[in-house]
């Protein structure tokens, strides 16, 4: 508290609320006061330094240990070699000749180059080359490149991916329809008077449907492709994939119905589904993890690609998270609040963010047709993601009755989030570097670019918001809602869309109309901006009004125009989802089958 009063005394030097960074570091320079020795920066700094030394010592120890174990292994390998030599010496003369003969033949063999194509000249007699145009210059918009090739994927995997993504699209449209509806209730609170459609019940329906329905199903569906592709093998079990699909969809369906009928676990955000419903989701996660893990275990290449790190970790972490979030043993009194902060932040950070980053590490290089800029940065971001993200949940309860040390930890580690965020952003931007011209030529890259930029902006802004000063102004206002849309929508959803448009045309061989992809992009982007900016500005005024001690009702009246703008932005976003749903349908719909030639006819043609 002394820290804060110190900060507050410094207020006059920072009259502008838009300078949130400096006061927070001012705050860390606490006064000399023996009462608060444990929280004084000197002590904290010293502890951190000691921790660093210990950390380095641990690493050294582990490296040494590693070396020792490696030397043990080397000795074993040496032994095996000796055994092999002895085996060779024991072979008969004629056997050795036979082996050498075979090897000589194999070395001499060469490809003639005509094994596959034959020696005829290349012609297009049957007109198989399509897309002949007489108008190379489109006056309305830049012609985008077509997806160059289709990827051979096993049929069952293809339909799993399409069903996961299809269900996700349905939940997106449903979830954002609900969101749009409750957004309008801020303007017309009397739109309806049905208990099942009231604001308090629909709000969690919206958040949970887009979380567990849209984003989760989309991520897992896209993940199936990444896992199969980067392990260069087939998925361990298609049946398990279908079971998880049913369980997750069932979770959202039952959860939605129970919330609308007034059955709510306790009102904690993203924890509104009661446990009998949420357990289905957890089982779905465990099944998915097992399926992915077994696939990675049987991979055909020795290295585990970094995407798989993120994806496997996201599944493990979220399972742990769901278990801790729902276990009843430490959740009475403010124990529940500690867990709530932990759960709601990790739900975002360990599930959506981690999984989505895993997807970016595959789909972004794949869309650009070049390798990721730095593999090591990806690994660094991975471990720091785990370390920093896990610790910051309590920043949702700054100034609350939760222990001050827990709040401080959360704030400090929120600042630490800069490391994974900067590492990730740098990596993605450097991968894109040199391909900027592709942005105008591709309908996928703009989605990636917006997602990556929001990854930096949204996460950094979130860290700033955790600082005590900014919390002072923004907490409890609509600014929070803006922040969560900036991240869950700006980062996660935009990146998922990018992945959709990267992979679906390759799977189905059908590209959506480019005008409609453009419409989707711009409607969503402009809508999000209107949504965000209006709530940020309104939220800031609201917070400042509270600080000034204005009557509460005035903050409601103040927000009204901003709520209108939010609803307008929300409408644009929702329309973009309808366009997107159509694009999706366009990419995956079954086209009239081409009459297939039966074998006798085919033979006649060939002869």
């Amino acid at each position: 508290m002394v820290l804060i009063s110190e900060l507050v005394k410094n207020w006059k030097y920072y009259p502008n609320f838009l300078m949130p960074v400096i006061p927070d570091f001012v705050m860390v320079q606490a006064p000399l006061n023996s009462d608060n020795w444990a929280t004084s920066p000197g002590i904290i700094g010293t502890l951190v330094l000691i921790f660093i030394v210990l950390f380095v010592a641990c690493i050294i120890f582990l490296v040494k240990l590693n070396g020792y174990i490696d030397s043990l292994k080397a000795r074993q390998i040496e032994k095996k070699k000796l055994a092999f030599n002895e085996e060779l010496m024991a072979l008969e003369e004629s056997d050795i000749d036979h082996i050498l003969d075979k090897r000589k033949k194999a070395l001499k063999y060469k490809l003639s180059g005509t094994e596959l194509g034959g020696q005829e000249r290349v012609m297009d007699e049957k007109g198989l080359v399509n897309r002949v145009t007489h108008e190379p210059e489109n006056p309305m918009f830049d012609e985008k490149k077509k997806t160059p090739l289709s990827i051979e994927t096993p049929e069952p995997l293809k339909s799993i991916i399409i069903y996961y993504l299809g269900a996700a699209v349905c939940w997106l449209v449903f979830g954002t329809l609900v969101g749009q509806y409750i957004g309008m209730k801020f303007i017309w609170p009397e739109m309806d008077n049905l208990s099942w459609l009231s604001f308090g019940r629909l709000r969690p329906v919206h958040t949970n449907a887009v979380f567990w329905g849209w984003a989760s199903l989309a991520m897992i569906g896209l993940g199936y492709f990444v896992i199969a592709r980067t392990t260069n093998t087939i998925i361990y079990s298609y049946t398990l994939a279908w079971r998880a699909w049913i369980l997750i969809n069932l979770t959202v369906l039952l959860g939605t119905i129970s919330l609308m009928s007034g059955i709510n676990n306790g009102g904690g955000e993203y924890r509104e589904y009661i446990w009998p419903v949420m357990i289905l989701f957890a089982i779905g996660l465990v099944i998915t993890f097992w399926n992915f893990y077994r696939t990675v275990a049987s991979r055909k290449i020795s290295d585990i690609y970094v995407s798989n790190w993120y994806i496997l970790a996201a599944l493990i972490w979220t399972t742990v998270l769901a278990i801790i979030g729902y276990l009843p043993f430490f959740q009475n009194g403010l124990g529940e609040t500690v867990i709530q902060g932990y759960y709601m932040h990790q739900g975002v950070g360990m599930w959506f963010m981690t999984f989505t980053l895993g997807l970016v590490y595959y789909y972004l290089p794949s869309a650009l047709n070049k390798p990721i800029y730095s593999y090591s940065l990806g690994v660094l971001a991975f471990w720091t993601q785990m370390l920093f993200y896990t610790m910051i949940g309590t920043h949702h309860f700054v100034f609350s009755p939760l222990p001050w040390w827990l709040q401080t930890t959360a704030i400090v580690f929120s600042a630490g989030m800069f490391i994974p965020v900067v590492a990730g952003t740098t990596n993605f931007l450097m991968t894109m570097k040199g391909s900027w011209s592709h942005i105008s030529k591709s309908y996928v890259l703009p989605f990636f670019l917006v997602g990556v930029i929001f990854y930096f902006v949204g996460s950094t802004q979130g860290s700033f918001q955790a600082f005590r000063f900014t919390n002072y102004v923004w907490h409890f206002t609509d600014f929070n809602v803006a922040h969560s849309h900036m991240t869950m929508y700006g980062i996660i959803t935009f990146i998922l869309w990018a992945c959709f448009y990267t992979i679906l045309p390759k799977l189905t061989g059908k590209e959506p109309p480019q005008v409609l992809v453009g419409a989707h992009f711009w409607l969503a982007f402009i809508g999000l901006f209107a949504y965000m900016i209006s709530l940020m500005v309104g939220g800031t005024y609201k917070g400042l009004g509270w600080i000034d001690g204005n009557a509460f009702l005035e903050s409601v009246i103040l927000m009204k125009p901003y709520w209108v703008w939010r609803a307008i932005g929300g409408s644009l976003m929702f329309i973009s989802h309808l366009v997107f749903a159509y694009n999706f349908y366009y990419m995956v719909r079954k086209r009239k089958a081409i009459i297939t030639l039966d074998v006798p006819i085919l033979e006649r043609v060939i002869n």
Binding site: R271, T337, G393, H396
Partner: protein, 337 residues
């Protein structure tokens, strides 16, 4: 041994163990510690009805817009006399039943006001019933949803004596010969809301609020506090307007008008001050008014009374802090001679 790039088992185990350890440090361990608090002395249990009301509060999703935490910063002082402490939640934050966990009462957004102390701020059952039936009957600018499904519209002839009738103002009235009565659920919810009162701490003070900056710098703490307290219009909006309305016209059938009221415009403010201090329940056609002696200081009451006496066409002389002080002392002596 630690080759995460090639060994999927080590990789998966390391991520699992690392995350579980961090989770214990930052969540499980502090959470179980936070359970070891004691209730305050004399802290009342939740009655059966209050607990049922709390369950309705959760299932209707009230926590989406209403917080129940007074933070230790001065702007939260309007919601309670002291910052909230863990013991405050001793009885309310327990596992609800086999299916549902401990309610998340602290909340994360204030689209509506904080409810930590709503039972003290607004103790009138009639007000709460009107407000839940349709918030705009009493707060014109409110964006809160109506909860008509917690009420029943019945034939006026069938209203029984034990039914709790909601007297709606004309513009919100139901078709003639029908009456709105409260269901059991809404009565439980109101009982719960009325029970939300901040307990005084045994040592009489409790944690301090971190003061707001500008006071310290511009005029010094006292000066600014005084001038804030003297803003009668603002105080009226915060304290009185939910019933008597911003325009001083009240709500027909529930809350009497102050504009043109004989008591308010009387040269002698004694009766008016007494009502503010002690509450009022003399007129059956209106809901009863709660006493404000504990919530408002003499200066604040004087500021509010002056505002009421000089607004909406009223034109009576101002009330001084000393007048209120005198009457307050008089009442105290009257009660404990």
């Amino acid at each position: 041994m630690f080759d995460f790039h090639k060994n999927h088992k080590t990789l998966v185990l390391a991520t699992f163990i690392g995350f579980v350890m961090l989770s214990f440090i930052v969540a499980v361990f502090p959470a179980s510690q936070m359970q070891n608090v004691k209730p305050l002395p004399n802290q009342p249990f939740l009655t059966e009805n209050e607990r049922e009301g709390l369950h309705i509060y959760i299932s209707e999703g009230c926590v989406a817009c209403h917080t129940q935490q007074v933070r230790n910063i001065e702007m939260d002082n309007v919601w309670g006399n002291r910052p909230s402490i863990p013991s405050d939640y001793y009885y309310s934050k327990e596992r609800m039943d086999f299916w549902r966990q401990s309610p998340s009462l602290l909340g994360s957004e204030r689209t509506g006001p904080d409810l930590t102390n709503i039972g003290a701020r607004q103790s009138s059952k009639d007000w709460h019933l009107l407000h839940l039936y349709n918030p705009r009957t009493v707060v014109g600018e409110s964006v809160m949803p109506s909860y008509p499904w917690l009420f029943e519209i019945v034939d006026s002839n069938l209203v029984k004596d034990e039914d709790v009738v909601v007297n709606l103002p004309e513009e919100f009235a139901t078709p003639s010969k029908t009456t709105v009565i409260a269901k059991k659920e809404v009565l439980q919810l109101v009982v719960y809301l009325q029970s939300l009162k901040q307990m005084e701490l045994p040592d009489g003070e409790g944690g301090k609020f971190i003061p707001r900056s500008r006071q310290i710098h511009s005029e010094g703490l006292d000066g600014d506090l005084k001038s804030a307290a003297l803003n009668g219009e603002n105080l009226y909006k915060q304290t009185c307007a939910v019933c008597h309305q911003d325009n001083g016209k009240g709500v027909v059938g529930a809350f009497p008008p102050l504009a043109g009221s004989a008591i308010v415009t009387n040269e002698d403010p004694e009766m008016m001050i007494k009502i503010i201090l002690q509450g009022y329940d003399a007129r059956t056609e209106f809901a009863s008014m709660q006493p404000f002696a504990d919530q408002l200081s003499d200066a604040e009451i004087a500021a509010i009374a002056t505002h009421e006496r000089s607004s909406w066409g009223n034109n009576a002389p101002e009330v001084k802090e000393e007048d209120v002080k005198k009457i307050r002392e008089f009442i105290a002596n009257d009660l404990n001679p």
